[in-house]
């Protein structure tokens, strides 16, 4: 039984090692990515592509559709948040360099 358990552990470790060698996993939660996308692409859509707010809100919609978008047209920033603890902000730099995710 002990030998079987050791074999199982070995196989598990080998499987992990093989997986790590072929597919890397990045430490991003879906919510972090959703707010990053919302802020970054929202800023770009509003202040680089110069589209209207309705278009931009539809354009940045991603799955999971949890990111709320706050657009400040004076400061040229877009903040995106999801639930309480996930937030991201992007700001417009200039006419040549567009937006950057902070």
């Amino acid at each position: 039984m002990k030998r079987l358990a050791s074999l199982a552990v070995l196989l598990f470790v080998a499987g992990c090692a093989d997986d790590n060698a072929t597919r890397r996993t990045f430490a991003n939660s879906d919510l972090e990515l959703a707010v990053g996308n919302g802020a970054r692409m929202g800023c770009t859509c509003m202040f680089v592509m110069k589209m209207d707010e309705a278009y931009c809100r539809a354009w940045v919609k991603a799955s999971p559709d949890v990111a709320k978008i706050a657009i400040d047209t004076t400061a040229k920033t877009v903040e995106s948040s999801a639930f309480v603890s996930f937030a991201a902000k992007a700001h417009f730099v200039d006419e040549r360099h567009g937006c950057v995710l902070e």
């Binding site: 890397r24 990045f26 430490a27 991003n28 006419e95 040549r96 950057v100 995710l101």
Partner: protein, 380 residues
């Protein structure tokens, strides 16, 4: 009058000296217009617009082809132009991976300007990096041959294993160059073709470092965009100033067409050679690394980050069968910059034709062959 003759003679001599094509005019300020007749070409225009401007279902469902801009240039004239979904001729459109062709061209300009060499290690321009990544040469990223174990992937695949999504919106977003260069080297640089947004962004980072040393912080505008009159061009960077040359360039369709026009004219603009002699030819010939190593799943060969209407030869030891040219009814010399969600700059030298299409296709793939053949009918 004598002065005018002198200027014209000097201009022609300059073009000849640089082996550049001569044109009656150049669209630096704006494209000359010679719009096709909507009555004479009614049937061809209807076929084109039925194919690309017919929306399906509710907008929120994101169905089918959703063209936002279509511009056709023939013989140096803007002959057809149409916009939709809120876009017009003044609004820059996101390039997505069309940016890769810009990064490749900027690398070429660096070569032309003596600011870099294709055989140099990337670490010559990125001295903060050491070790195995320094085996990557400047040429490798523009041919998707860096050897980095990049994991290309978009919104329809698991987010956590996408190097791209992590770079743009996740843990890699603040220092994107570091994100790219901390991928392990999985193959000897220059030996394994693998499509990679990281490679293109790496190329743009190298080009920026090399060109900035010579031309200052707005080098991309000085050496390319300003020369072509691409006044709408935007090239985004991360928070540390690394250009996002794999995906984040913006311009109006008219300005994208100028980039296509530069390539159609062998890298020359108004008598000045912008790209090195032979660069366009190399860009539009399947790269050695593609021919030797691209997998059987690839249908369209690439050169220096341009997609080509060329057949793919079989390579038995990697299990790849021969494939015909991908856009079967289009001229053999057609090539295109291609971006996610339907962005295209198609160049057809034998037809003196440039086609720019921008869009927001979320669940459909545009058929380039159809785009080229229907456009050719419009301008015939």
């Amino acid at each position: 009058m004598r002065a005018l003759v002198l200027v014209l003679t000097l201009g022609s001599s300059l073009a000849l000296a640089q082996n550049c094509p001569t044109r009656a005019s150049w669209p630096t300020a704006q494209w000359p217009q010679a719009l096709v007749s909507p009555t004479d070409k009614a049937a061809a225009i209807k076929a084109l617009e039925d194919a690309f401007f017919t929306l399906q279902g509710a907008d929120a469902d994101r169905l089918g082809l959703r063209t936002e801009g279509l511009v056709i240039i023939k013989n140096g004239n803007l002959v057809y132009e149409k916009y939709a979904r809120g876009f017009d001729q003044t609004k820059p459109h996101l390039s997505w991976s069309v940016a890769k062709s810009f990064s490749s061209a900027l690398t070429g300009i660096g070569v032309k300007q003596g600011a870099l060499s294709l055989t140099d290690s990337i670490c010559k321009y990125l001295p903060e990096y050491t070790g195995k990544v320094c085996d990557i040469r400047v040429k490798d990223p523009i041919t998707f041959g860096s050897g980095l174990a990049w994991q290309e992937g978009y919104e329809n695949e698991p987010y956590q294993t996408s190097s791209v999504i992590s770079m743009l919106y996740g843990v890699g977003h603040r220092d994107q160059l570091k994100h790219i260069l901390t991928h392990r080297i999985a193959a000897e640089p220059g030996t394994q073709w693998m499509y990679s947004t990281g490679d293109a962004q790496l190329a743009s980072a190298v080009a920026k470092r090399a060109l900035t040393a010579k031309f200052g912080k707005d080098a991309f505008w000085t050496v390319l965009f300003d020369k072509l009159g691409m006044s709408s061009a935007v090239f985004e960077e991360d928070a540390l100033g690394t250009p996002q040359g794999g995906s984040m360039v913006y311009a109006t369709p008219r300005d994208y067409a100028k980039f296509g026009w530069l390539f159609l004219n062998d890298g020359c603009w108004n008598g000045e050679r912008i790209l090195p002699e032979g660069w366009v030819s190399a860009s539009t010939t399947p790269s050695d690394v593609f021919v030797a190593s691209a997998g059987d799943g690839e249908d369209t060969p690439s050169g220096y980050s341009w997609w080509l209407n060329k057949p793919i030869p079989a390579v038995a030891h990697i299990g790849r069968v021969a494939k015909p040219k991908p856009w079967k009814d289009s001229p053999d010399d057609a090539y295109s910059a291609i971006g996610h969600w339907g962005q295209y700059i198609v160049v057809v030298p034998s037809q003196d034709l440039v086609i720019v299409r921008t869009g927001d296709d979320r669940n459909a793939d545009l058929d380039i062959n159809q785009l080229v053949t229907l456009s050719m009918e419009v301008v015939k």
